[in-house]
């Protein structure tokens, strides 16, 4: 059952080939059997999932079902879930049970989907390897010595190992696309404002965007349709219609103009990865796409710019974690300052503290202009690069990550090396554009992702472009040996 797409699963449910309870139980059993090796879930909601599945079965029987009714999914543990712990991968929230649901969770519930559990992640979504989680690292299903990427590493690993048919993720600097690439699945980060941020624990508010981790563009289209849309509780939510992403999947790509940024194919790019990407591009040529070189001149500045803006926003966003109203509180605080300092010092891990400190520094008196303001100016230049590029091409393609998955511990002592691995994904968040990563091949047995970047609100186009590639290739159908059975 677990090798089926969610549209196949939905068809199976409708045809009564199996019930949602059976399907849910199947996934719960797989989690029980395999997740010890991966650590992809922080919380598994067995009882709740089976209740939701039973309700879905009733809806299916009554004919009240919508497209994904009864389909199980995993939620990244950054989305607040009423009654189920939302840890954000942090000791700070190890005891936090939100008294409300995130907008994304509400929409999945309303669609009759079944939440299997909450997936592991880098602490507060800060990381590219899933090693900063308080709950321990997640392992890559293709090679358990390797990282799954991050921060949505739990969702990526769970989907790659078929411990969930589909999952949610969030992407602030590549946190959907990079783990999708490293785990060999499809991950889409929509345009900023497309998916509600209500109840999604903020890392960097002007960059954070919820999205989908799936095995194929076809599956991603279905779940994106469910979670996208206007939410009046989020001031930055875009008030515009959500198209039927599935309807346009099969559009012909003849004449599609693909831009390859010359700045993406430089020394920093692993030659094996480069070869895989070139092969993918030639697939598109075969489909009649026109490929041309473009320039995004400020590409190299995306990482420095991001590492000012994201920490600055995070330093402020994470001030609410103070041990007063919820979350971790240190024992026997001597005074108020001690309460704050120890609750936060003990509740946050090293990477979170590093970023809070960088952000605090960048915003502090005397440094604001040199860091924060400068970064905001560069952000505009980076955005303008894309705007110019989209005057001449329909989509931009390149690698999602400069290398395949690295080994656990390989970069964990060197934050800067870790940050630099986000070079291709970060600029997309700064600009607020949509991007998708699709499996395009392997290097040394580890997956490679092709990133496709679209213009604002061009998710439909991205899914179409990804889908056609997946019609021509079968990289996305591969399941790691160890988790096939």
């Amino acid at each position: 059952m677990h090798d089926k797409s969610i549209s196949e699963l939905a068809a199976g449910l409708r045809a009564r080939e199996f019930s949602s309870v059976e399907l849910t139980r199947h996934y719960l059993q797989r989690i029980a059997r395999y997740d010890g090796r991966l650590n992809s879930y922080i919380t598994v909601c067995e009882e709740r999932a089976l209740e939701q599945a039973a309700a879905a079965d009733r809806a299916l029987a009554a004919g009240d079902a919508v497209s994904l009714t009864g389909i199980p999914l995993a939620q990244k543990d950054i989305f607040c879930t009423d009654g189920v712990k939302t840890s954000c991968g942090s000791r700070m929230l190890d005891n936090f049970i939100a008294p409300y649901d995130a907008g994304v969770v509400e929409r999945c519930d309303a669609a009759g989907m079944v939440m299997l559990g909450k997936t592991n992640m880098d602490e507060f979504a800060m990381g590219s390897s899933n090693e900063t989680s308080w709950y321990g690292p997640v392992r890559n299903p293709w090679d358990t010595d390797a990282v799954p990427g991050g921060s949505s590493g739990g969702s990526a690993a769970a989907v790659a190992a078929c411990l969930a048919p589909v999952a949610t993720g969030t992407d602030t600097g590549g946190s959907i696309r990079q783990p999708a690439a490293l785990c060999g699945i499809t991950g889409i980060k929509p345009t900023y404002g497309r998916v509600s941020r209500w109840g999604m624990i903020a890392f960097a508010s002007s960059l954070d965007q919820g999205g989908v981790m799936a095995r194929s563009a076809e599956d991603a289209a279905l779940l994106l349709k469910v979670i996208a849309g206007f939410d009046e509780r989020d001031s930055t939510s875009a008030d515009r219609d959500v198209p039927d992403y599935s309807a346009a999947l099969n559009r012909d790509l003849a004449g599609l103009r693909i831009g390859l940024p010359r700045e993406y194919f430089t020394d920093g790019l692993d030659t094996g990865v480069a070869r895989v990407i070139e092969e993918a591009i030639s697939e598109y040529r075969k489909m009649g796409a026109e490929v041309r070189e473009i320039s995004l001149p400020n590409t190299e500045l995306a990482v420095p710019t991001y590492y000012v803006i994201a920490p600055a926003e995070c330093s402020s966003n994470l001030s609410r974690f103070d041990g007063v109203r919820f979350g971790y509180r240190c024992s026997d605080p001597a005074d108020l300052e001690d309460l704050y300092k120890r609750s936060r010092g003990e509740g946050f891990g090293a990477e979170v503290k590093r970023r809070i400190m960088v952000g605090t520094y960048a915003l502090s008196a005397g440094y604001y202009d040199a860091y924060y303001l400068k970064a905001q100016q560069l952000r505009r230049l980076i955005r303008d690069d894309f705007a110019r590029a989209f005057e001449e091409v329909d989509v931009i393609m390149g690698p999602t990550s400069p290398t395949v998955a690295f080994n656990l511990g390989e970069k964990s002592d060197d934050p800067v090396a870790m940050y630099l691995s986000d070079i291709y994904t970060i600029a997309v968040n700064l600009a607020g554009l949509p991007g998708i990563s699709v499996p395009a091949g392997f290097v040394s047995g580890r997956p490679v992702g092709l990133q496709i970047i679209g213009n604002y609100f061009a998710e439909e186009r991205l899914l179409n472009v990804a889908y056609r590639f997946q019609q021509a290739t079968d990289w996305h159908r591969r399941i790691p040996e160890e988790f096939r059975g």
């Binding site: 607040c80 409300y100 999604m200 001031s235 402020s316 609410r320």
Partner: protein, 478 residues
Amino acid sequence: MEWEAVIGLEIHAQLATRSKIFSGASTAYGAEPNTQACAVDLGLPGVLPVLNREAVRMACLFGLAIDAEIAPRSVFARKNYFYPDLPKGYQISQYELPIVGRGRLTIELDDGESKTIGITRAHLEEDAGKSLHEDFHGMTGVDLNRAGTPLLEIVSEPDLRSAKEATAYMKKLRSLVRYLEICDGNMQEGSFRCDANVSVRPRGSDGFGTRTEIKNVNSFRFVERAIQFEIDRQIDLLEGGGEVVQETRLYDAAKGETRPMRSKEEAMDYRYFPDPDLLPLVIESRWLEELRATLPELPDAKRERFMYEYGLSAYEATVLTATRELADFYEAVERESGGETRLAANWVMGEFSAALNSDNLEVTTTPVNASMLGGLIRRIADETISGKIAKQVFEAMWRGEGDADSIIERRGLRQITDSGELERAIDQVLAANPEQVEQYRNGKEKLLGFFVGQVMKATGGKANPARLNQLLKERLNS
């Protein structure tokens, strides 16, 4: 040396919205602790702010009323600091681009002069909660009901030169926000609060001395006292060869003095930056024009009109337009009295205001409404009763005994204007006091008052005083 005070005020006016500035929780005052603090106000993880249109409308009205430019685009910023009554660890405020730019307000001084005070800016922000320092096993309790209540922070230029000017400015501002119905101005409940920046300098100098900021003052009286105390303290310090330390001080009303805040003074680094959860606030000029059309008549214009239309003095017009309610009341009384502008002014400012004060009532909750007071004034004007009797009638109305006419009728208070009746009473009094009549006629004319009193007594106070005076003189001089 002669010293001059330099004072600037930061007024926080709570905007009279139903719900909070960024959440749908109620702003009603006095609820049980934390029952009006929703997830957004509490700063729980993942929640987001959405701006209240009404708070924006109110800020725009204020800007229009002080002749300020309303920013077509303003920005919300985060002011970052840790404090238990600040749930998110930052306050959403406006920093570089406030909604209301430079404006002005004219105040009337005691000497009848007026002075224009510059308003630097006014910006929207959210209020913090409250720390309750009663002892909870040596801990502080935090109530976040007030967190997220919309505030308009109104910053004046350092144009004020005395404690009196500062309170006059504050009163005028309070009157204005109440006219605009954007703030209830209730100082006890903290809806209208004042921080004062005070410094002194040698008179004639145009530099600025080191200033202190006085926080936590919650009445006009205390503001005046606190500022005066601070001015005197600073002058004493400087004259004694000392220096003023830049610091925040609290006013202790019980001791009538200011003292430095005990909390460790550290140079605050608020790390302001644009709030990424909120987008730029854009005010369309069309909306602004619609709002301009809804502006009520403002205190200054109303004051001018009262002088011009009703022939009132500057002082009377100032008093009667101090609040919109009082001004409306005056105009209603004037109308009901049949155009007795002067009597209406005297009565509203005199008996009526005194009665309000002694019973601690508001114009809107008085037992004597405008139509009743106007009816009473009609009876004075048509000489049915004298001014003196009218006071009795007013008191009876205040006690709820009915309107003027029914009280006059029931108690037989109609004044005597009939010459025959008055002459009879006069004759009796003169006959009973021949000695005094003699003295009067020999030049002791101040005895006229004695005779008036006697006749009044004889008539139960109902004699028409003017008529009585006239007839008495005729009789005595004949």
